[in-house]
């Protein structure tokens, strides 16, 4: 699923009219806003924005579903962990002993767990939107526009490219080893870990070989980190891009301020 999604042609959407650097700033500030917010209501608004953005990317439903499921389960897992192991205060409405330890389920734990769930889901969806909208090439332009060295931005873009190849190799190796009676889905955890070696060894070897091939390909395509290079695509910053940047910064500032006004409520439920 991941490899198909990474290698597919990008859709023409409203986001394509935004300068890649401005789009990155939008992604960055909204993600940070989701991360620092303590207010569940704000998180719900940010989550709604992330869903709206995902809808606007016109991404295929199966890919959208894939990201939502990942975000949901990862978030739900953290919610569960925080609910049972968090040390936040507030009214404890249930407690029990587990392996000799007193487990307290408090309003504070429940609230922070829920807030974390919303954070994770928003972050995953914002990241999905970023990757769905921008080509690796545009990701390079986005970072270059922020004056990041080309070597670093190229490495980042190549990382995305290699994810797809890595995922493909992994899939083939798992099948190849399964055909020699090595099924990593069978056995207890230790047996499975031992079996994983049969997958990891060829995967690492192949990845190193591919890295070597990539270096050769870059060299024969005249890539020289020390030389001056031109750019075929010109991404101009227009008024709408400045508006997007402004919107991103203002959203971030509002979330920051709202955090301050949320303190009495957080205090009330025993979180702050």
């Amino acid at each position: 699923m991941f490899k198909v999604f990474l290698t597919e042609k990008k859709n023409v959407t409203i986001f394509k009219k935004i300068n890649p650097s401005a789009f990155f700033i939008l992604y960055f500030f909204l993600s940070i806003a989701a991360l620092i917010s303590f207010n569940a209501l704000v998180e719900i608004v940010l989550l709604a924005i992330s869903f709206l953005f995902l809808l606007l990317t016109k991404v295929k439903f199966q890919y959208a579903k894939f990201f939502i499921i990942i975000g949901f389960w990862f978030g739900a897992f953290l919610w569960l962990i925080i609910t049972f192991t968090g040390l936040y205060g507030g009214h404890t409405f249930y407690s029990f002993y587990l392996f000799g330890a007193l487990i307290k389920i408090s309003y504070g734990n429940l609230y922070v767990g829920f807030d974390t769930f919303l954070k994770v889901l928003s972050l995953v969806i914002f990241t999905a939107v970023f990757v769905v909208v921008l080509d690796p090439r545009e990701i390079v332009e986005a970072f270059s526009g922020l004056r990041l060295p080309y070597n670093i931005t190229l490495s980042l873009a190549l990382m995305f490219r290699n994810f797809a190849i890595f995922a493909n190799d992994y899939e083939i190796i798992v099948q190849a080893q399964k055909s020699r009676a090595l099924d990593i889905n069978k056995g207890n955890i230790f047996q499975r870990l031992k079996k994983l070696l049969g997958i990891i060894i060829p995967l690492v070897y192949l990845s190193l070989k591919r890295a070597d091939d990539l270096v050769n390909a870059l060299e024969t395509k005249n890539y020289d980190p020390k030389s001056k290079r031109s750019s075929f695509f010109e991404y101009k910053i227009t008024a709408k891009d400045y508006f997007i940047i402004l919107f991103s910064v203002i959203t971030f500032v509002i979330v920051f301020i709202l955090n301050y006004y949320s303190l009495p409520f957080l205090n009330f439920i025993g979180v702050a």
Partner: protein, 568 residues
């Protein structure tokens, strides 16, 4: 003008005891189209790497001698300098594609050359037009076929406007259609751009009639260097050094040796014209071709009924396929890239689950097979040996599957030792499988499947990356297993092996079954070939032409000819 001048050039990779190139002396002139042939490990890729400067600048090793490219001494230059005048296309198109759009990939080297926008636009459009990729400008390279991907690699190189183009087995992973696309592009390049082209290739049947010179390289030394007509007069030397020989050339040589014709022909049409000149249609008695094949057993090995596989992204990989393979059959599955061949065979050993339809393997419904039991009965050799190799020694690699099915160690030892002996791997038994040659790696993986004693053996593209001699060796291994009663299913793009070894062929096209029957009947039926987008082997083309003229000739006697070919 001398484009490339190599003088007494020696190269030894760091960590290796032997020289990969031994005193190579070679001159290639402007506009020449040169083919380099030779067995795997002969030093062909090393020679190309040396011309572009990847050797010595990208690899560690010891060097002697000199290389001049357009008068520039390689040792006084740099790889970035060299890659401005020399372009190189590698074997695997996937490793050369960097970006997610065709346009991005083509302009990348132009940006690296710091060209201005107008110059880039002009070169981009020129490359797209030359390689017929104009309508793919904004496509993702991953949506392209194998042939299109390799044409993109060529377009990327052409945009740089190098005077010299090097190609390292550019068609080895392509189906016959993709191969034809790349060769057509090269012919166009030579005609319109007067490029100097140096190509390394094992599968040379379609290529020989277009090249100006052929070099035979073996063990780091140039053994032969001549124009194609004269080169193939030394067929015994070529065979000794395991160089590639096109089917038509080999047949010409055989007919010339038996005094039927006076010279060796490089292409099918010329040989056909010569044959009809020397034999009159009136004096010949037509021989009816016998297309039938008789399976040795009446028991079914595999029965598929309306089998379909739909991938999660909605791609219909197999569409209502029905087929029947008897036990002890030798079956070939062919078709263009993406036709569903690998998907089909992966359902046979449970690696993929059919979306709908019935599949019976060795008399039992696929749904009722335990996956561990099934892989014991149906062995699968993957295309790239690296995907299956994960142990520290060749011995352990052969024992791997047996250990996974928990066979006692004394029985494992007996089986492995016997397989090592049979496949000539005894001397490698303590070696790390990653350090041996690709041909040996294939034998290791093949032997590791054979030791499991499966009843059905599936082999996916066994001849890719192997030279002609190794390919015949692999096909003979399969034949031996078949003679022992095993059911063999082979997928390959190299149709000469299908034509010579496989009596029963199934042709797939985009998930649909196009043909299921006798191999020669398919290859001599132009309607089937056109429908399935397959270019038949040259001998089959000749046979078809002769048959249409009511001419009989030795060429129609495939069995006799095959005997000659496979024994030689």
């Amino acid at each position: 003008m001398k484009e490339i001048e190599i003088k007494n050039f020696w190269w030894k990779y760091a960590g290796s005891d032997t020289w990969a190139l031994k005193g190579v002396d070679l001159t290639i002139n402007e506009g020449e189209f040169v083919l380099i042939s030779g067995p795997t490990g002969a030093g062909k890729t090393t020679l190309l790497r040396s011309i572009i400067g990847l050797i010595p600048y990208g690899y560690l090793g010891t060097l002697k001698g000199n290389i001049y490219v357009r008068g520039k001494n390689l040792l006084e230059s740099s790889i970035s300098e060299m890659s401005k005048i020399v372009g190189m296309v590698f074997e695997d198109p996937e490793t050369q594609i960097i970006w997610n759009r065709v346009i991005d990939d083509i302009v990348f080297p132009l940006e690296n050359l710091n060209l201005n926008k107008d110059e880039m636009v002009e070169r981009l459009n020129y490359s797209l037009k030359l390689l017929n990729l104009e309508d793919k400008k904004y496509s993702s390279p991953y949506e392209l076929s194998g042939g299109q991907k390799q044409r993109l690699s060529l377009a990327t190189i052409i945009a740089k406007r190098p005077k010299i183009i090097l190609l390292d087995e550019p068609t080895s992973q392509l189906d016959p259609v993709g191969r034809r696309e790349v060769i057509d592009a090269l012919i166009k390049l030579k005609k319109e751009y007067s490029s100097t082209i140096v190509i390394v290739e094992h599968n040379i049947d379609q290529l020989v009639k277009y090249v100006d010179r052929i070099l035979l390289l073996d063990d780091g030394e140039i053994v032969l260097d001549d124009v194609p007509d004269k080169y193939f007069e030394n067929i015994d030397i070529i065979k000794t050094h395991r160089g590639s020989i096109p089917e038509i050339v080999e047949l010409s040589y055989y007919l010339k040796k038996n005094n039927f014709i006076s010279k060796i022909y490089l292409n099918t049409e010329d040989l056909y014209n010569e044959i009809i000149k020397i034999r009159s249609t009136n004096t010949e008695k037509k021989i009816e071709s016998n297309y039938s094949y008789t399976p040795s057993s009446n028991t079914d090995a595999i029965v598929a009924e309306n089998l379909s596989v739909v991938y999660p992204n909605g791609t219909i990989a197999l569409n209502n396929i029905s087929l029947r393979i008897k036990q002890g059959e030798f079956v070939g599955i062919i078709g263009v890239n993406g036709s569903g061949k690998t998907t089909l065979v992966k359902t046979f050993n449970g690696l993929l689950k059919p979306t709908s339809g019935n599949l019976i393997i060795l008399g039992k419904d696929i749904k009722k097979w335990d996956s561990e039991e099934l892989v014991k009965k149906v062995g699968y050799v993957f295309q790239n040996p690296i995907h299956q190799i994960s142990n520290r020694t060749v011995y352990d690699e052969l024992a791997f599957g047996l250990r996974n099915i928990k066979m006692p160690e004394n029985q494992i030892n007996a089986r492995v030792m016997s397989a090592l002996k049979r496949f000539g791997l005894e001397h490698l038994k303590d070696k790390h499988p990653y350090t041996i040659s690709r041909a040996d790696q294939f034998r290791v993986v093949f032997a590791s499947v054979i030791v499991m004693d499966p009843e059905i053996i599936i082999v996916d593209e066994p001849t890719t990356g192997q030279d002609l001699y190794q390919s015949y060796q692999i096909m003979n291994y399969l034949k031996e297993e078949n003679q022992k009663g095993k059911t063999i299913i082979v997928i390959t793009h190299h149709l000469r092996f299908i034509s010579q070894f496989v009596p029963h062929t199934i042709i797939l096209l985009y998930g649909n079954k196009i043909y299921d029957g006798a191999t020669q009947e398919a290859f001599e039926n132009y309607e089937i070939m056109q429908k399935s987008m397959i270019d038949p082997p040259e001998l089959s083309k000749l046979s078809y032409m002769l048959k249409n003229d009511n001419l009989s000739y030795e060429v129609l006697n495939y069995l006799k000819y095959n005997e000659y070919l496979t024994l030689s």
